[in-house]
């Protein structure tokens, strides 16, 4: 019997043992209802729950689908991003390697693998820095103390600093490595092949210390070597400095062209190197200037011997591109410690000695002497004074009359420059004209002379010409023609009254250029004279190269009169001039005897103290006012 029914039966049974059927039925009925309700509730809740769980399931499935889709999309983006990153890494000119905090390779690009000749087996993710470095050593890529390098790298990364190092590869390449720690852990290293850059830097460094043409040390290195040599002087050794200048190098350049000039310099450099000892230095310090630091100089004659040896070496003919070139050298020598123990002083003194050698006629050598310094000082002073002479109005033109021998009239005057310096007094032209040429003032002074001469001549009687001397440098100047045109225009002087005098030397170089200028001047109407004829090569070809208006016979021949040789020469010149339709002027006529002779020999004009020394303008104007003739004055 069911436990519940037993209870119900007990409850429905009265004290007498009689069962109250109706009561029992109610209880049993209620129990059935309870069971029905429970079953109904259970069914209902189960189906609702299943429905809910189903719905949840669907929701979860949808969520999973959505998340999967999102993940797929993200994965695609990452893949694309990775491809872009790969492309960027592959196309880098630098090698790149990324390591984690345990010094294990995370990623590297192809360039890194190529750079160190790694195999992909070695340079794979997870490889340790130690393995990679060992591999480098094994493959003879570069040698490295692996343990030391690894600890250095880790230490530098710990410090969080950006660090770099340069690796010299055994095959000659140079690799620059830069390491930078990454946020969190590890580091990224870039490797750049800087071989070319390094070579270019070395090249630049070389150029800074060498002459590009001859590959000799340049002035910078010369000074360094000299400074080192001078340290030995402190220990009792002797050193000589030779300054060397090729004589007439410019002529080689002008006549044979710069390429030949350059080859000559290279050849000279080669011979110089042969001449000197291993510890000596040969440097190129300027266009055709060289310097030699001679060490181990025991006696003064050692330096002289080297200088002589050098000269002999230089004087041997050069064969440059089929041209036989012969040059000589001027050499200045200074000696340490005698002439100084400082670089600057020794170089300066050698330069001064060179100047002396050149001044003494070139093709020689000179030792520095203390008075050179003084003379150089004087020269400097003069140079400074000369530079301000024009603006200070210190120049003056003197005029020496030229007498036409036919009618004894003054036919012209030669303008002669004088410099009145307030302290130095009258400075002779021979003292300052070469200096003016040397320091480039001659064009300005020459221009002043032409202008002034034209202006002065314009105040003279119309038939009196003015003669002006031209320096060879003026003739090579582009501006000469315009200077003459301006002077004529300003003074309103007839061009025919201006005579420009040139010497033979002018025609010895740049002939074509000079001839073109002369023709232009001639086309203006200006007259051109050949001055000092007979002192140079006196080549007839010069006379034929240009139709000069006049030949001025050099005073040395006039002075020689009346000996036979001089008579023959003067006669020949006047004859030649006549045949070429040129007039002749006898220069330096000092006596009446000479005057008579030049007249007899057929000279057209004469100039000299027999009539008048050079005089100041106002004196000349007085002369014109008196309208005198040489016969009337007769001064000597």
């Amino acid at each position: 019997m069911h436990k519940l029914f037993a209870k119900q039966l007990a409850k429905a049974t009265g004290p007498s043992g009689k069962v109250d059927i109706e009561k029992l039925a109610v209880m049993v009925g209620a129990a059935y209802d309870d069971a029905d309700n429970d079953r109904r509730r259970t069914d209902r809740s189960m189906s609702l729950m299943i429905e809910e769980v189903d719905q949840l399931n669907r929701g979860l499935e949808q969520q999973v689908d959505e998340r999967t889709a999102a993940l797929n999309e993200r994965e695609q983006q990452l893949r694309a991003q990775n491809l872009r990153l790969d492309a960027a890494l592959s196309n880098m000119s630098q090698g790149l390697a990324m390591f984690d905090g345990d010094a294990r390779l995370l990623i590297c690009n192809q360039r890194y693998i190529e750079m160190y000749g790694l195999s992909p087996d070695v340079a794979k993710p997870g490889a340790s820095l130690r393995d990679l470095l060992n591999h480098h050593s094994l493959n003879n890529v570069f040698t490295v103390d692996t343990d030391k390098r690894v600890s250095e790298v880790l230490e530098s990364i710990d410090n969080g600093k950006r660090t770099g190092l340069v690796i010299e590869m055994l095959d000659g390449r140079t690799i620059a490595v830069v390491r930078q720690g990454m946020p969190g852990d590890g580091w990224v290293a870039t490797h750049e092949d800087i071989t070319d850059r390094r070579r270019a830097e070395q090249q630049i460094a070389h150029m800074a210390r060498h002459d590009a043409l001859t590959e000799l040390p340049n002035r910078v290195q010369l000074r360094e070597h000299l400074a080192i040599a001078l340290e030995r002087v402190q220990r009792g050794e002797h050193v000589a400095v030779h300054y060397l200048d090729l004589d007439h190098f410019k002529t080689v350049n002008d006549s044979l062209g710069h390429p030949v000039g350059d080859e000559l310099l290279k050849a000279v450099a080669g011979r110089l190197r042969h001449c000197v000892g291993k510890t000596d230095t040969v440097a190129r310090v300027g266009g055709d200037e060289f310097a030699i630091v001679q060490t181990g100089v025991d006696r003064p004659t050692d330096a002289a011997a080297l200088a002589q040896e050098i000269r002999e070496a230089i004087r041997a003919p050069f064969d440059i591109n089929g041209h036989v070139v012969i040059v000589d050298a001027s050499i200045g020598i200074s000696h340490a410690p005698t002439d100084g123990i400082e670089t600057n002083v020794l170089l300066k003194n050698a330069d001064m000695a060179l100047y002396r050698a050149k001044a003494d006629g070139r093709g020689t050598y000179r030792f520095f002497e203390p008075q050179m310094d003084a003379r150089m000082h004087e020269r400097r002073k003069l140079e400074l004074a000369l530079r301000s002479a024009l603006s200070n109005n210190e120049f003056e033109l003197y005029y020496q009359p030229l007498i036409e021998l036919n009618g004894d009239d003054v036919s012209g005057c030669e303008a002669l420059i004088r410099w009145h310096h307030p302290e130095l007094g009258m400075v002779p032209p021979l003292d300052f004209i070469p200096l003016a040429e040397e320091i480039g003032l001659i064009a300005q002074i020459g221009e002043w002379v032409i202008r002034r001469a034209c202006e002065d001549a314009a105040t003279w009687p119309d038939h009196v010409k003015v003669a002006v001397n031209l320096s060879p440098i003026q003739l090579t100047s582009q501006s000469l023609v315009s200077v003459v045109m301006n002077a004529l225009a300003r003074s309103r002087l007839q061009p025919q009254r201006l005579e420009l005098e040139i010497t033979e030397a002018v025609l010895m170089r740049n002939t074509e250029e000079v001839l073109a200028t002369l023709h232009q001047l001639r086309s203006l109407g200006v007259r051109i004279s050949m001055d000092d004829f007979g002192t140079g090569y006196s080549s007839l070809s010069y006379l034929r190269s240009f139709p000069f208006d006049k030949i001025k016979i050099d005073r040395s021949f006039i002075k020689g009169l009346p000996d036979n040789d001089s008579i023959a020469i003067v006669r020949a010149v006047t004859g030649l001039a006549r045949s070429l339709s040129m007039t002749t002027t006898a220069e330096g006529v000092e006596t009446h005897q000479q005057l008579d002779q030049v007249r007899a020999l057929g000279c057209t004009e004469m100039q000299g103290y027999v009539f008048s020394p050079p005089m100041r303008l106002n004196e000349l104007l007085l002369l014109f006012a008196r309208d005198v003739s040489p016969h009337a004055t007769g001064t000597a």
Binding site: K3, L4, K7, Q8, M27, A30, A31, D33, D34, N37, D38, R40, R41, T42, R44, S45, L48, M49, E52, V53, L56
Partner: protein
């Protein structure tokens, strides 16, 4: 301690079994209609002039193995070495629950306080706050057991009295003092969770508004079907298990007190904190009975040699269990009785909430849908 079982039936009046001369405590439980006029209290007061007399209305009385609505189940206890004190508070509404709890605690607090048994109004109270109020004063060391009074399946009015006729809006408690008293306790449910885990989206104290974004009442009505006409009582068929998301093993069961059809909300006998998880539960007769047996067994875990002392077990079980089990509700009473043994007097009631330390945490809490057993005796020593 000696116990005298006392039962009142309409036909027979009070009948007594056992001896408890000069009883110090009388406990009694009856239907609201039976107790409302105060006659039963007055009769007991005459029978036990010196006793603390404490009782309440119920959702059914338990008397030994029997469950019924008509009788009044009671017991009179005489203690040898235990002092008793009673306290009573009037509660205006649920918002006063904590302060009333604190007042009870303060009234009974003493150094030798060994246990409190509390009976509270079942409708105008937040049981969780009431318990928190009492334990806030007496601490967790002293066992606090008891229950909320019931009103059958009507949920209209509950009555509680201590040394007075039972009345509404009342909380009454007994304090046990001294080292002789032994109070064992056990609490267990036996309910099965089912269906998905839900999230309490919106709640305020013990008022639940939304589960998973759906009004809580909608969910209950859907599950109850035709039974939803019986709300709020029928909601007891599906108790709610709640747990903190970070302490999922610490589970509490909540039972419905009332519903607000307009607001679509439900009021539970204890807090339903927002953000906690919730799952519906359903009962299986056998497992509910097994749960009751568990509770009885737990109450005997620390039982010591009680010598000549009688033992009384006060069974407070949830009205929801009775509504679900119908006539089979006696199964759980018998199952508990089998664990407690024939020498233990058993009585109790079906309540609107059970109070007992939590089986896992030991922390005193309000329970719902459980069988709670409080075993009282005195030690032999």
């Amino acid at each position: 301690m000696r116990a005298q079982e006392i039962v009142w039936r309409e036909t027979e009046g009070w009948s007594r079994t056992g001896a408890a001369a000069d009883a110090g405590v009388v406990l009694y439980f009856g239907a609201r209609q039976t107790l409302a006029d105060g006659a039963r209290y007055n009769e007991l007061r005459t029978l036990y002039p010196n006793a603390r007399i404490i009782g309440c209305s119920t959702g059914g009385q338990i008397q030994t193995d029997d469950v019924g609505d008509d009788m009044v189940a009671g017991i009179a206890l005489s203690f040898d070495a235990t002092k008793i004190k009673s306290a009573i508070e009037t509660i205006a509404g649920p918002e006063s629950s904590r302060t009333c709890g604190e007042a009870i605690g303060r009234a009974l607090q003493a150094d030798d306080l060994s246990g409190i048994f509390v009976l509270s109004d079942g409708l105008n109270v937040n049981g969780s706050h009431l318990v928190a109020g009492i334990t806030g004063v007496i601490g967790d060391r002293v066992p606090l057991t008891g229950g909320l009074a019931g009103d059958g399946a009507l949920f209209e009015q509950t009555l509680v009295g201590a040394d007075c006729a039972p009345r509404s809006h009342t909380i009454a408690a007994l304090g046990f003092y001294g080292s002789a008293i032994r109070i064992g306790h056990g609490s267990a449910g036996g309910w099965d969770v089912f269906g998905p885990r839900r999230r309490i989206n919106r709640s305020y104290g013990n008022i639940l508004h939304e589960l998973d974004g759906e009004p809580a009442l909608d969910l209950y009505e859907r599950y109850l079907g035709d039974d939803s006409k019986g709300l709020p009582g029928s909601a007891l068929l599906f108790p709610l298990q709640i747990s903190h998301p970070e302490r999922p093993d610490h589970e509490l069961v909540r039972t419905v007190l009332s519903v607000d059809r307009a607001a679509r909300s439900m009021t539970f006998a204890g807090d339903v904190p927002q953000g906690w998880n919730a799952r519906l539960m359903r009962g299986n007769f056998d497992r509910l009975a097994a749960g009751a047996a568990d509770a009885a067994r737990l109450s005997q875990l620390r039982a010591t040699d009680r010598g000549e002392s009688d033992q009384v077990a006060i069974l407070v079980s949830c009205i929801g269990r009775r509504l679900l089990m119908g006539q089979r509700v006696t199964d759980e009473v018998e199952a508990a009785g089998a664990e407690l043994g024939a020498r233990t007097s058993r009585l109790g009631f079906y309540s609107y909430g059970e109070i007992s330390p939590h089986a896992v945490s030991g922390h005193c809490e309000l329970h719902n849908q459980t069988m709670t057993v409080t075993a009282i005796s005195e030690s032999a020593g």
